[in-house]
Symmetry: C2
Subunit: 146 residues, 2 copies
Amino acid sequence: MIKISKLADYAVIILTSYVDEQGQLFSSSQLAQRTKLPEPTVSKVLKLLSQANLLHSIRGANGGYKLSAELKNITVLDVINAIDGTLAITACVEHANANSEQCSHAGSCALKGRWNIVNTHVANALEKVSLQDMVCPVNEPRTVNG
Amino acid sequence: MIKISKLADYAVIILTSYVDEQGQLFSSSQLAQRTKLPEPTVSKVLKLLSQANLLHSIRGANGGYKLSAELKNITVLDVINAIDGTLAITACVEHANANSEQCSHAGSCALKGRWNIVNTHVANALEKVSLQDMVCPVNEPRTVNG
DNA sequence: ATAAAGGGTACTTATTTAGTGCTGTATTAA
DNA sequence: TTAATACAGCACTAAATAAGTACCCTTTAT
């Protein structure tokens, strides 16, 4: 199956935990408590998120992390990119970006670069879902395809 | 990164190798030769594809596999489902299907079931791309978002 | 100065995926 | 009816990836 890493899942949980206090500052241990996730893992995720500028970090005593943007302006694609790096489907696509060397079946491979179509479709799909969408309460349902 | 398994990639290579001889019968060793992929692996992929009814298998001497449908009517989603099972994103979604037990953060998890939105979006995206789309020649370019 | 809190790196462990091999079953042809 | 061919299914091994952990460094408020 296609799957998103656990860390990306954690990232969404952590980011959406800000939902009622967007703009507020929380330390990694606070976030670990609030999300009930193990602290070292939370810490790792927070680092990745701040590197990707989804969170703004403040160092030193009384430091912590706060959202760089509102949840409605952060997409699932942003989170996945932050945690797992650029969205890439199959080795061919990865290599196509990294270097121009073709895969071992280059000659016979009619697919060269074709996965990029799929890649783009998936990225577009992920870009349509914001974190706010993922946290919206059950009494405010949301159409899946709209 | 989100990625599709190598086997799914192989499956696409194998299926698209029929492009100019759709409806024809090939044995697994023929397909291995044509695609230049290792035979045991091809064999494994073929079994999965015929279980999913994307290929029709004929047993016995002079047997082999032939396409159950035209390439334009087989989607990337079909292939991924055949090889990797149902598209599932994160453990929450998987468990949500298998049993009704909630994830360990159930109480605090505002995301319960929300990944399904993402799932559906991705599935829709993958359903829009047919194998014929993936094999079309470079001199017949194709818009990515159309 | 010291304590609190983030930053970075490297390592270990666990999980998943890929690859291989063996045995069974169906079909055809001699 | 027997031998050869080819798919079916299962189980095992090995390799790759991801997750989790630990350690030490840097920054900043008190």
